[in-house]
Symmetry: C2
Subunit: 302 residues, 2 copies
C-alpha cells in the first residue's frame, strides 16, 4: 500500500558535543521517507527552493520514494539550525528560516490521490487538513505529528484536523499541553475524544509508548554506546512505524506493536551519525538484525 | 534461599499533590522486605528507636520476615520528610533526622550468618562492608544501592565495598556521577571494572535497564492512571528483584530478566498509595496478574 507524507524537506545546521555540520539535508519528510521506503512506496509532498540540487535529490533516488509532489519554488529551502547541550537532552534553536516554506500550499499530483496511508507531518494544521481533503475517498490510516507551536497558536484548527486522524504521535510535554492533563493514560482518554484511537508518546532516549483504546504497548530506545545526533529521530520513528503498517497493508494489534519496534529500530540508526547520513545507508539486513536485538532487549519468561 | 537486607526502618512525612501524611512507616529496608517476602524469607538488619511500636512491628508479622537483626536503641527512629512537586518528578527533602541511625553499627545475629543473598541498602559504604564481613563464607549474590551523598563524600570507601558486589542498583545520575561518563553503556563498563558484573539503572517512570556483561534487558514502568506517592518505589523494586532471585535460588540470564519484571511489578503497587500502605496489602494473586500485564505491555512478534 502506498504511503503519503507531507512535511518539510529542508537543510539543517547541527551542533552536538560530537561535532558540527553547517548545512545538511534534513526535514521531517526526508527522515520519514528514507525510513518508510524500506517497507512501502512513499510519496512526498513538500516544497524546496532553488538551492535543492540534483545531489540532494540523489539521496532519495534508487528507493521507493516518489518526488512528484515535491514542488520547486523560487528562493531558498527551509533552513533550521540548532545546538544540543552536552548531555543532548536539551536543544537550542539558533535559526529558523522558513523561506519557501512560508507560503507552502500543498497540492497533490493526480498520481497521489489514491494514497491509502497518510502521514501529516508537523506543519500548520490547516495545511494538514487541506492535504487530507485532496485524497480521494477515505484513507485506511491517518497519522499526525504536531508541536507546542501549533497546540498553542492554532488550537481550534488542530482540533478540527484531529477529528480525521487515527494515530497521533507526539511527546510527553505535547500530550500534557494538548490535554491539560498530567497523567499520560488519562491524557490519552482526552485525545480519544478528539478523534484518534491511538496515541504514541515519543520519549527520546526512553523509547515510546502506544496507548490504544484496547491495549498498551511500550518499546525502549535501543541503548547505544554513542548517540551522535538526535535530530530526526522522531520523524524516522514515524517513518518506520507508518512504513511498516503500509507495507503489511493491515492495521491490527499485532502489526501496530511490530510497527512500534521497527520505528525504534530505524530511529536507532539515525542517531548514530549527523543528519540522514546513517539512515541513508542502512540496509534491510541491518534493520532485521537490530530488530532481533530489540527482541533480546525486551524478552522475558514469567 | 534466605535473603538479608541492611538498611533503614524509619518514619516518613510525605506530601504529594494527592495528599499528605505526617508520619508513616517507611525506610528502604521496610519496602525491600515487604516486597521480597512474597518470594523468599527475608532477614532485616536495622536499628529503630523506642517510638517503634508493636503496631509498626505488626506490619512485618505474618510474613516471611525475620526481625531478629532489628536492634532497638534508646531515642527516636530515623525520620525523613519530603515534598513532591506537582508533576512528581522532583522531590524536596524537608527533614532528615538520623536519630538512632546516626550511631548505627550493624551486628548480625548468629541466625543470619549463613545468608546467601545479601542486599546492602543505601547506607554508609563502611557499614555495608561491615555487614558483608560478618557473613560466613562467600554469599551467592550481593546487591548494593547507594546515592550521590556516598559517591561524593566516601568515594574511596564505596569503591572498596563495590569490589565485593555483584549487582549495583542506582539511577541515571548516580551512574554518571560514579563513573564521570555520560553514556550509560560506557559507564557500565567502568562499573564492571569496579567489581559488579551487573548494573541496574533505575529510571522511575521510565522503568529500569539492566546492563550485564553479556546482555542487556529493559523493562518499562507499569503505566498507571494515578501515581499517588513515588516514595519507596526504588527500594520496592530492589526487594522484588532480589526476592525473586533468592526464591528461585538460581542466578542466570533468565532469572535475572524475570527478576527485573517482578521488581517493576512490586514497585507499581507501592506508588498507588502513601508509604507502604498498598505494598503491605498486595497479594500473590495480584502480583501474578500484573506480571501478565507486563508481558502484554512489552510483547511483539517481528
Amino acid at each position: 500500500m502506498s504511503l503519503l507524507v507531507v512535511g518539510s524537506v529542508a537543510f539543517d545546521g547541527i551542533e552536538t558535543p560530537h561535532g558540527k555540520v553547517d548545512r545538511t539535508l534534513g526535514g521531517a519528510a526526508s527522515y520519514f521517507a528514507l525510513a518508510a521506503s524500506h517497507f512501502a512506496p512513499v510519496r512526498i509532498v513538500a516544497v524546496v527552493g532553488d538551492d535543492f540540487t540534483d545531489r540532494d535529490r540523489a539521496v532519495f533516488e534508487g528507493r521507493k520514494i516518489d518526488l512528484a509532489g515535491v514542488e520547486r519554488a523560487a528562493g531558498k529551502s527551509f533552513f533550521w539550525a540548532g545546538r544540543y547541550s552536552q548531555n543532548m537532552n536539551e536543544r537550542t534553536t539558533l535559526t529558523t528560516d522558513l523561506n519557501v516554506f512560508a507560503t507552502f500550499d500543498p497540492k497533490l499530483p493526480r498520481s497521489y490521490l489514491d494514497s491509502q496511508y497518510i502521514f501529516l507531518g508537523n506543519i500548520d494544521p490547516t495545511l494538514q487538513r487541506s492535504v487530507l481533503k485532496q485524497i480521494r475517498g477515505k484513507p485506511r490510516l491517518v497519522g499526525l505529528d504536531t508541536m507546542n507551536y501549533w497546540i498553542e497558536g492554532t488550537n481550534a484548527e488542530l482540533r478540527e484536523t484531529l477529528k480525521h486522524v487515527d494515530i497521533l504521535t507526539i511527546n510527553d510535554d505535547e500530550t500534557r499541553q494538548l490535554t491539560s492533563e498530567h497523567n499520560l493514560l488519562r491524557a490519552a482518554k482526552h485525545i480519544f475524544k478528539m478523534g484518534p484511537s491511538t496515541l504514541i508518546i515519543k520519549r527520546g532516549e526512553h523509547g515510546a509508548i502506544m496507548v490504544h483504546k484496547n491495549f498498551l504497548f511500550s518499546v525502549p530506545a535501543f541503548p547505544l554506546e554513542q548517540v551522535f545526533d538526535p535530530t530526526g529521530a522522531g520523524d524516522t520513528f514515524a517513518g518506520g512505524f507508518m512504513g511498516y503498517l503500509a507495507g503489511k497493508g493491515r492495521v491490527n494489534e499485532q502489526t501496530l506493536r511490530s510497527a512500534m519496534v521497527y520505528g525504534s529500530v530505524l530511529a536507532s540508526f539515525t542517531v548514530e551519525r549527523f543528519g540522514v547520513e546513517r539512515l541513508a545507508k542502512v540496509t534491510r539486513k541491518e534493520i532485521t538484525a537490530r530488530a532481533r536485538l530489540f527482541s533480546k532487549l525486551t524478552s522475558f519468561k514469567l
